[in-house]
Amino acid sequence: MALAALARGNLPGTDNDRRVSILPGRITTPTLASFVRSVASVDEVGVTERVASLGTRSIKKDSKMDALILAVRMMDLTTLEGKDTPGKVAQMSSKAIRPDPVDSSVPSVAAVCVYPAMVPYALEAVAGSGVKVASVATYFPSGQIDTKSKVVEVSSVVTLGADEVDMVIDRGAFLAGAYFKVFDEIRQVKEACGDQAHLKVILETGELGGLDDVRRASMLAMAAGADFIKTSTGKVQPAATLPVTLVMLEAIRDFYGATGVQVGMKPAGGIRTAKDAIRYLVVLNETLGSAWMTPDWFRFGASTLLNDVLMQIRWLKTGRYQSADYFTKD
């Protein structure tokens, strides 16, 4: 049975109406608390076993090439450092547009992901290429400031022309049980994104209290308006893991089943090898199915993954491994 058949048909109303239809009644502090508590629990042993079992999938030949090319197309090539400069961003962007200078059949990545100050340079560098510009915002990575300032920052990157906004949730509020604060902040940021920018909501799962929390935060973020949910900032360990990703994908599946709203997924941080990327794609494929197997609904947030994927692509094409020196470091 296709996953689409599980959705409650085409529910009436706007995207937002459908999202909040999963909540019990009006959106208040108590109703959000009871919603969060109603989210199905997660058994960590079972999750670990499931990803271990999917990890034994043997992906070879054409299916491997398909996965590697898709992984390139799904990549948010990222630089998020205090020492980022216009020059660094320009170089990374040119790699994003043409990842392998000697093999023009390798497609562009999905987006470059930068700090707000770098957005204008990134926009200039990728202009006309189809590569999008994602900006982290909401005082990434900690988000330790009032909601109003976060919204101002988001509005400014949207005005600059960012295509995508990667916000962080207020983990402190979530852990303190202040779900309304978390929800409302996402809602306001979403409003600031308007029709112009896609909103990715970073849960920073490494700071949450285990997989139950990951699932609860996922549901809350989706109900509040997340177009994508994202594991991590990359600044906290552990960042993306397969168990966390599986739990978030299962939450996306349940949310889609209940509301008919499709939400995307972005694991970020710690995914460094082509083999890892393929494992993530297997988990995606077998949890959400082919409807999500596109850069529209799945992204990898990574800075060093791309070169390993390129190396594997060249190996598949030529039968030879080439030294890392043959792949550009931008």
Partner: protein, 492 residues
């Protein structure tokens, strides 16, 4: 293009098909014909009869094996008796242990070969024979090798002694693993063995016999004779057999018990099951789904402890069944040698016919059937993963062991009702409980009449953990310290 349009311009999703990833069979070298392994060597059967064993995934013959007649059985038991009298029975435990450790290591070294062979002869997916069966086989030999010189510590103050010659008859669902469960404790305790593997899956046991000889196991300590029911019957009824261990159907188990009554032979029986798998509404649902899938589709459902009766709390029944159906559709059914296959071949044409018949009965009784529309291979014995909803306790598919990939789903309202229904079966081998509430797990485990109760998991095995049944699922325990009891005298 306007910004909003650019954002919405979709990239078509990838319909990702995994390329076939077939495990090579080059590592396995088969003889055209196998004799009986008696007294340390392969011997032509006195019966002069042979029968073919086939690959159930292709229906092509793999080899011919001997059919042991009564005279052959007698020869094997004699060989086992003299090995017991001459060497094995009186050998110090630490010496016996050396052989068992050596066998365990050799199984590990050759595990890929043995896994491929197991899959070729039996039809189970290579990922199971590779990742479950063979690791457990080696673990079982290591575990009982460790006990061999510590028997007096296992039963302090007693003087445990071996029984003599053990006649062991094993089924076709886990050929190597059942061999290990039987042979390892028997040899560790100083008994000698005549083993009869199932007629559809004799090859791994014969290969193992050769491996044991290579390990230097004295001739006659382990004898492997092949054949069908008549051979098994001659073996268990042979007057010089001291101990009978049988794993298989309840019907045959009853026959064995009848014929052995009054003979003084020690018996352990591990028989059928119709396990209850109970899902409460506070369970971790997505992991419970995986548990249920593993519980019934592991090894095509050819598992005596398979969770074949699913009880779902009524408040989550419909949602759970929807999720289960979706998950069923992602199971990869097909070539067992493909590393990505989840559900392999049914072991034999006979078993396929039995499964099909019971499924037809289920439909006729009015239960609602669901099967995913996966494509089955043209040749070989395959059956779609199947589930039935709207099943009642009185339906035959809720009562009889199907021993195939078929799940019967019922609902319950309260924990008391779950217990009543779960125990309402002549069987009692295993059960599973899924709930987030620790106290409820203990409450359920106290009341479920089953030899094994798994909580928030299913089908987990470990050589240190005893396994065995209540009621018509048999008696005696295999595995753990308990597993030694079945092969010792002087303990009661």
């Amino acid at each position: 293009m306007a910004k909003a349009e650019l954002l919405q311009a979709p990239s078509p999703p990838l319909d990702w098909k995994y390329a076939p990833s077939r495990e090579s069979t080059d590592i396995v070298s088969l003889n055209e014909r196998y004799g009986l392994f008696i007294g340390g060597a392969f011997r032509a059967p006195l019966s002069k009869k042979y029968f073919p064993t086939i690959n159930p995934a292709t229906e092509k013959p793999l080899a011919e094996v001997a059919e042991a007649g009564e005279k052959d059985v007698n020869r094997a038991v004699k060989a086992a008796r003299s090995a017991y009298d001459d060497s094995w029975g009186s050998m110090p435990g630490k010496e016996r242990a050396k052989y068992l450790f050596r066998i365990a290591r050799m199984v590990q070294e050759r595990s890929r070969e043995l896994a491929v062979l197991e899959t070729m002869d039996g039809g189970k997916p290579i990922k199971e024979s590779r990742d479950v069966d063979l690791p457990l086989v080696a673990a079982h030999f290591f575990y009982y090798a460790g006990w061999a010189d510590k028997l007096e510590y296992a039963f302090p103050g007693l003087d445990p002694k071996p029984l003599g010659v053990a006649g062991q008859v094993i089924p076709w669902n886990f050929p190597m693993m059942m061999l290990a469960w039987k042979v390892a404790p028997a040899l560790a305790t100083g008994n000698t063995v005549v083993l009869k593997p199932a007629e559809t899956t004799p090859l791994s046991a014969l290969t193992f016999a050769a491996l044991a000889a290579e390990a230097g196991l004295p001739p006659g300590v382990l004898n492997v004779i092949t054949g069908a029911g008549a051979t098994g019957s001659s073996l268990v009824n042979h007057p010089d057999v001291d101990k009978v261990a049988f794993t298989g159907s309840t019907a045959v188990g009853k026959l064995i018990r009848n014929s052995l009554a009054g003979t003084g032979k020690k018996v352990t029986l591990e028989l059928g099951g119709k396990a209850a798998h109970v899902i409460f509404d506070d369970a971790p649902i997505d992991q419970a789904i995986e548990g249920v899938i593993n519980g019934i589709f592991f090894n095509q459902g050819h598992v005596c402890c398979a969770g074949s009766r699913l009880f779902v709390q009524e408040s989550i029944h419909d949602r759970f069944v929807d999720k289960l159906k979706r998950r069923l559709s992602t199971l990869r059914v097909g070539d067992p040698l493909d590393k990505n296959t989840d559900v392999g071949a049914i072991n034999s044409a006979e078993q396929l016919a039995k499964i099909s018949e019971l499924v037809e009965i289920g439909r006729a009784e009015g239960a609602e059937m669901f099967q995913p529309d996966c494509v089955l291979p043209r040749n070989g014995f395959f059956f779609r993963p199947t589930l039935f909803t709207g099943v009642s306790q009185s339906h035959r598919i809720a009562q009889e062991e199907i021993f195939g990939p078929v799940l019967s789903i019922m609902s319950f309202r309260t924990p008391e009702e779950a217990i009543e229904k779960a125990n309402n079966t002549p069987y009692g081998l295993s059960a599973g409980v899924w709930t987030s509430k620790g106290s409820r797990i203990l409450w359920m485990a106290d009341r479920l009449q089953a030899g094994v109760v798994w909580a928030n998991t299913y089908n987990k095995f470990d050589p240190a953990s005893p396994f065995g049944g209540y009621k018509e699922s048999g008696f005696g325990r295999e595995g753990g310290r308990h597993g030694l009891l079945a092969y010792l005298q002087g303990i009661s």
